[in-house]
Symmetry: C2
Subunit: 363 residues, 2 copies
C-alpha cells in the first residue's frame, strides 16, 4: 500500500476518487448501471462512484434471492445531510428486497472518539428515528441495534474470535498507529459486517460506505476468508459514495458549524447557511448573464443534485439554466431554501413520531 | 517491574513465592488466618499463601454483607487435581455466603491457545460438571457461563469499553509481546472479574488465582479504578495459591502425561502414576528406617496435603511417621492410591449425573 493511505479515523478528504479506484482495487460503479432496475439517483448521478463485488447484489436482486445490506452510523454528532445520503441508499435496497441491518457504532464512538455513553445513546436514537422517518420499514427483515446493546452473544463472541485471524502487524499496516481501543473497535466492525451471515447463514451482503471506510471492508473480507469452513462466509460487497462538500466550500464536517445542514436545522440557521453558501456564481450579475454560472463549483447545485431534485430532467434543466446565465444565484438560493425547509419540516414531523417507537424497534 | 516477570500465557514455574510477595505487592495470607472462621485446609496449610485486599472479604463474611467470588477455567485440557484445588476454594466461599461467578474462558482458549471451539465446548462442560459434583450449589446466587455464550450484552460491551481505559504500552509492560488475540482476551478477563459488580453494583469480590494470573488482577484493578463514577467499582481482591508439583517431580502440566492426575483418570493409570511418583524416600529401606523420609520432597505427601487428608492431625501424623522412618513408601503409596481411587470413583459417579444438567444450569 503505497501512496495515499485511507484512514477511517483520520480526516477524510479524498476528492480524487479516480485515484482510489486505481490504487485500492475499487471498481467504477457506472458500468453496472444498465444492469440495475430503476437505479437510485445516487447511482444515476455517480455519487455512488465505486464498488467491490456489487455484481453479486445485482444477481441476487435479479433472481429474487436473499441478500442483505448492513451499514453503521457513528453517534458522535448530529445526523446531517451526509447521513441522509446513506439512509437513502439503505431504503432503496430495502425496496429491492434486501434484509436490512443498521448498527449504531457506539463502541467505536466511545473507545476511539472518546464520546460519553449518554451522548452515544441519544445521538444513536436520533439516527434511527430519522432513518425510519425517511422511509425505512422496521419489519421482521430489519435489524437495528447499538453495538453495545446487541443481545446476540454470537455477535460479541465473533468479534473476539476474529482477533485470532489477524496479526498486530497486519492491523498496523491497515490502520496505522494502533491503540487497544482501535483494535477492539475494528474487530467489532468486522463482526457488524458479518453479522447478517452469522445470523442467517452465507448470503450476499452489501456495505455502503464512504471511501475512508474501505480499510474496514478490506480487513473484513480478509478475516472472513480465513474462517473458511468454520464460518463459510460470502465475501461482503461494498459501494463507495462521494462525500458531499461543505456549504462553505470546504469539507462537510460536524466540527464546522457552517459547513453542514443538520437534519434538525432551524429555519433561521438554514436560511443563513444557504444564503451564505459558496456558489458557482460570477462576480457581477452582468458577468453571470454573459458567461453563465459554474454549477460544478456550486454548493447549492450540490444540494439539488444530492437531495432536493429527484427528477433527472429537472436537475438538467437547472444545470442548463445556470450554465446559460438565465438562472440567478439569489433566486436559485431561495428555491433551494424553500425546498429544503419543506423537506426538513415534513421529515421532522415524522421523526418526532418515530422517537418513542425506537426503543422497542431495536432487537 | 524489574527482575522476574509474571506471564499468564507463559510457563508458570514460580516456586519462590516469597519473592512474589516481595516484588509484586502480594501480601502473605498467614496473618489473616486467625480472623477467618473455620478456614479451608488450603488456607490452614498455607497452600493459599498470598492475597490482595482479602481483608475486605473477611469483613463481608463477618458482617454478613453481600460479596462475590469470581474465577475462571481455561478449557484447553482435561480438568485435573490442580483445578480441583481452585474448585475447593470456590465451594468454601459459597458456604461462607459468597455469590459465585464461574467463567469458562473459551474466548482465551480459542484466541490465545488456538483451541477449536468444539473442544473448548466439551472441556468447558467437564469443568462445570466436576465443580457441581464437588459440591457447588447451582442456585440463584450462582452464575456459570462460557465467555462466548454470556447472554448479557453489558458484559461484552464492558470488555470493549475497557479498551479505552488502557494504552498499548501499558498492556505491553504487563503482558509482554502482544497480539490482537491477547489484547481481546485480556480485556475480556477484565470484564469477567468485574462482571459481578456490573450486574449487582459495587461489592467486595475475590478472585482466587495462581500467581501467574496476577497480571490480570493488577490490570483489572487499574482499569476498574479509571472508570471512577461511570462504574463505581470496589477494587477486586485476590488470593494466590501455590502450584501443586507434578507427580514426576517437575511442574504439573497437562502436556506431560505422567505429571498430573486428571479427574477422570482410569484405575490402571492412576495406579501406575502413583506407584511411579517421586517420593521423599531414601535409597534403601534400611536407610529410610534410620534417617526417616523427607515429606517436603514427596509428591505422595503433597497429594495427602492438597487433597486427600482433611484433618490436620491426621496429616501431621503421616508427616511424623514419615520423618521418623516408621512409614514406608510402598505402604504409603498404596494408602494414597486407595484414597484417591475411592475419591475419584465417587466424584465421577456424581459428575456423570451433573453433565446433562449443565446446559440449563448455565445462564
Amino acid at each position: 500500500m503505497k501512496g495515499m493511505k485511507l484512514d477511517p479515523w483520520g480526516s477524510s478528504d479524498f476528492t480524487d476518487y479516480k485515484k482510489l479506484i486505481k490504487e485500492f482495487g475499487i471498481k467504477p460503479f457506472r458500468p453496472l448501471l444498465e444492469k440495475i432496475n430503476d437505479p437510485d439517483k445516487l447511482m444515476r448521478r455517480e455519487i455512488i462512484y465505486g464498488h467491490r463485488d456489487y455484481e453479486r447484489i445485482i444477481e441476487a436482486m435479479k433472481n429474487k434471492k436473499e441478500f442483505c445490506l448492513i451499514t453503521g452510523f457513528m453517534p458522535s454528532g448530529k445526523p446531517h445531510l451526509g447521513h441522509k445520503m446513506v439512509m437513502e441508499e439503505i431504503i432503496w435496497h430495502q425496496k429491492k428486497g434486501a434484509k436490512i441491518y443498521v448498527c449504531i457504532a457506539d463502541i467505536e464512538a466511545y473507545t476511539v472518539r472518546k464520546m460519553s455513553r449518554e451522548l452515544c445513546d441519544s445521538f444513536g436514537k436520533e439516527y434511527l428515528a430519522y432513518l425510519i422517518a425517511l422511509g425505512l420499514k422496521a419489519d421482521k427483515n430489519t435489524r437495528l441495534y447499538f453495538q453495545s446493546k446487541n443481545k446476540n452473544p454470537e455477535y460479541h463472541a465473533f468479534s473476539k474470535f476474529a482477533s485470532r485471524k489477524t496479526t498486530f502487524n497486519e492491523m498496523k499496516d491497515i490502520y496505522g498507529e494502533l491503540t487497544p481501543g482501535k483494535i477492539v473497535s475494528s474487530l467489532t466492525q468486522v463482526a457488524d459486517i458479518l453479522l447478517p451471515q452469522i445470523e442467517n447463514g452465507p448470503m450476499p451482503t452489501v456495505v455502503p460506505v464512504g471511501s475512508d471506510q474501505d480499510p474496514h471492508i478490506r480487513f473484513t473480507r480478509d478475516i472472513a476468508s480465513r474462517f473458511s469452513s468454520e464460518f463459510p462466509f460470502i465475501l461482503p460487497s461494498s459501494t463507495y459514495h462521494m462525500f458531499q462538500r461543505g456549504l462553505d466550500g470546504g469539507k462537510m464536517s460536524s466540527s464546522r458549524e457552517n459547513s453542514y445542514i443538520s437534519l434538525d436545522e432551524s429555519e433561521e440557521s438554514l436560511k443563513r447557511k444557504i444564503m451564505n453558501a459558496v456558489t458557482g456564481g460570477r462576480e457581477t450579475l452582468q458577468e453571470q448573464k454573459e458567461k453563465g454560472g459554474i454549477p460544478e463549483k456550486c454548493m447549492i447545485f450540490e444540494l439539488f443534485k444530492y437531495h432536493l431534485i429527484e427528477n433527472d430532467e429537472k436537475l438538467n434543466k437547472i444545470y442548463s439554466e445556470c450554465k446559460s446565465g438565465s438562472r440567478i444565484c439569489g433566486e436559485c438560493k431561495k428555491q433551494c431554501f424553500e425546498l429544503m425547509l419543506s423537506f426538513l419540516k415534513k421529515l421532522n414531523e415524522k421523526k418526532e413520531k418515530c422517537m418513542s417507537k425506537i426503543e422497542k424497534m431495536m432487537d
